[in-house]
Amino acid sequence: MVEVLLRLGGVGFDISDYKYLGFGSPYYVDFVMFHKYLFIRKMICVEWGDVARRMRFNKPFKFIRLKLGPLSKHIPAIRQTEKFFIWLDYDRSLDQTMLLDIDGVAGRLAPGSIFVVTVDARPKLPKDFESEDLPVKQRELQTLRTYKEWFSSYLERQPTGESVSRAHVANTFYEVITERIRQTLVQTGSGLRFFQVFNYFYQDGAPMLTLGGIIGTEADESRVQGFSHRFVRTGKDYLTISVPPLTLREKQWIDRRLDDELTTKKLSFELDDDPLKNYIKFYKEYPTYLETLL
């Protein structure tokens, strides 16, 4: 994502001038990365949990403004006077509250703003909806019923057991989110549209779906159309990001020998073909932070 955002600067979306708004975590990983690699200095961190002191304590840069409380409280403060880069990085499956957030944010962004949403791509209801003690079949039925109620108005066809199954729910979530953004932009009557740039599916403990793009004018559209990159995805087919867990030694060993000829037979350790191919594809994006035993 960082590489694509950086290159968008080449077609007039100078990300370093944007204001970043993201969700809190005491690690502030996205804030550190976007400051270091995208040179963003205007940053807002929204933290819902009751951990104000911890968030303040861990804040890596003075210029990050910490906003406490749910996102809904801070959406009215988003003004069309400046361009935003907003990443709603949820760690739960799509629900109605998130659609309200997406609606509120998409309707207030200035032309040229970047809007990214990440959701857990599993069919899972929030805790207060799901009965853990129900048998699997009944729980699936309950999920289907709830998703029908929540998402039908965003989908071309009513959700089915298959479309909300673990294998396909990412596509359903994709359709719901993109349609929500589309409807919001039509309703605001601003003439703005959503030009998708990202559609990624990856494992981060749980399967995650990240989709995003630019909210802009027709002029923005022609600039986006002229932009291409191997990680840009403008349609419903997502880019699957899957990298093998490697030790630091293994990673460095492969990095030193990276070329198209490298096969598993040449490795000094066991690794299957597909994980190696995926590593070669995403080696630049491979996480570089390490866990340390203190």
Binding site: P70, P76, Q96, D103, G104, G107, T184, T188, G189
Partner: protein
């Protein structure tokens, strides 16, 4: 080949009976009466250039509105009389009686937009209409026998007279007799008058506050404008936006704890109420992933004032008791209403959460809030909803309640060797026992 003169034409003339039926089919009697009141107020606005919502948005005091509208009805007749300036002969000749207003007035924030309300009210109520009006310099009278008019081909109403006459003030008097049977029944009902007065009090609250007097069968309506509640740390939404030349003022917050009426959204166009305490899809409840209205939102109170000189840009339906939901201006307003209103619903969700003890800080804040006048909130700069809830410290005391069979309580007493131990003491004792072994 036939000449153009010989090409036949298909007739498409309206039938007056069908036209009247269609016009009056889906409108209630009280809405028709409000239409006639709108006409009187429209005249007053035109004459004095008054604008109540402009003052509300600007936070200034509205110019005193000197005018009186008297509504009378009984089982045999209906009348509405005003001293709101009257209608000039030229205006009556060319505009007032047209079915549909071909030219949109763009000079004042009036209430007459579609040019249909007055005639619809005539037809809805009865078959004999006597319309008299005078300005300071002239007077006119038009008498309509609806059955006669229906039988005629012409679409006009002849004047009984239209002549110069000097008066100190202007005014209009409309009398309707030979009422339809259903209208007679409603006028005889005791509840109809009080319902109408109540409706007038709410629909014209801003006008009544500015000095306009409206009376129904001698009873004067007083402004009924529900108040918002505020206290230190609890601040109401005030937001002004513009869309396609329409100014939109949004005020939203909580009604006072003592207010037992379930609220919702109140929508006004040029100061006239269009939606009253709305809790349905007309204001977006239950649409676009938003929650439907629920009794826990009874204290949600929101006002939306649309103001424009271009009356056709306002999102009111012809009956003025509904909105044009598809209107782009209304759509943009609904979006903003919900972005601004959502934190209020979040607060109410916390206030009425499952665990009463956890919502104690919200309850205390709400209890401390006092009613404030709408004008006071409206005159501020834009603000968003703020509820500063002081979270209790970890040392605060929390009650725990649960039920267990008496038999088991007895067993606990025996096990502890204390036969007089109360149920609540057993609860404390067992909690402490668990805490000491597992949490220390």
């Amino acid at each position: 080949m036939p000449s153009p003169q010989n090409i036949p034409v298909a007739l498409a003339e309206p039938s007056k009976s069908f036209f009247i039926d269609m016009l009056t089919k889906d409108i209630s009697l009280s809405v028709c009466i409000l239409d006639l009141i709108d006409n009187s107020i429209h005249g007053l606005i035109a004459q004095k250039n008054l604008d109540v919502s402009e003052h509300l948005i600007a936070g200034t005091r509205a110019q005193r509105m000197k005018g009186r509208i008297e509504v009378f009805f009984d089982g045999s007749s209906f009348s509405v009389t005003d001293d709101c300036g009257g209608i000039p002969i030229k205006e009556a000749e060319e505009h007032v009686f047209l079915f549909g207003n071909p030219v949109a007035n763009k000079t004042r924030t009036g209430l007459g937009v579609y040019g249909i309300g007055m005639k619809r009210a005539f037809f809805k109520m009865g078959t004999t209409i006597d319309f008299k009006s005078h300005t300071r310099t002239e007077e006119l009278r038009i008498e309509i026998d609806v059955d006669d008019w229906k039988a005629k081909r012409e679409w006009n109403f002849p004047f009984t007279y239209a002549r110069p006459k000097t008066s100190r003030t202007g005014g209009t008097a409309i009398a309707i007799s030979d009422l339809h049977a259903t209208v007679k029944d409603l006028f005889k009902s005791k509840a109809f008058k009080s319902t109408l007065v109540d409706k007038i009090s709410r629909s014209y609250g801003l006008f009544l506050k500015a000095g306009l007097r409206i009376a129904v069968n001698g009873e004067t309506a007083t402004a009924n404008i529900p108040e918002l509640a505020e206290t230190k740390g609890l601040r109401t939404v005030r937001h002004v936006m513009k869309k396609d030349g329409v100014e939109i003022l949004i005020l939203a917050g909580l009604s006072p704890r003592t207010d037992r009426t379930p609220r919702g959204w109140y929508v006004f166009c040029n100061g006239r109420m269009v939606l009253d305490a709305n809790k349905d899809e007309s204001t977006g409840w239950g649409l676009d992933s938003r929650p439907g209205f629920h009794y826990k939102y009874n204290h949600f109170l929101g006002y939306v004032y649309f103001r424009s000189h271009d009356l056709r840009n306002l999102p009111w339906a012809t009956t003025k008791d509904r909105v044009d939901y598809e209107s782009p201006i209304y759509q943009a307003a609904v979006k903003e209403m919900w972005v601004l209103g959502r934190p209020i619903l979040d607060f109410l969700n916390n206030l009425y959460g499952d665990v009463r003890e956890e919502s104690e800080p919200e309850r205390n804040l709400f209890a401390a809030a006092k009613a404030v006048q709408l004008q006071r909130v409206a005159s501020r700069k834009n603000t968003i909803f703020e509820a500063t809830v002081k979270k209790e410290s970890d040392d605060a005391q929390v009650s725990i309640q649960y039920k267990r069979p008496k038999k088991k309580l007895k067993q606990v007493r025996e096990a502890t060797g204390r036969p007089t131990l109360s149920a609540s003491r057993i609860g404390e004792y067992t909690f402490d026992w668990f805490y000491d072994r597992n949490c220390k």
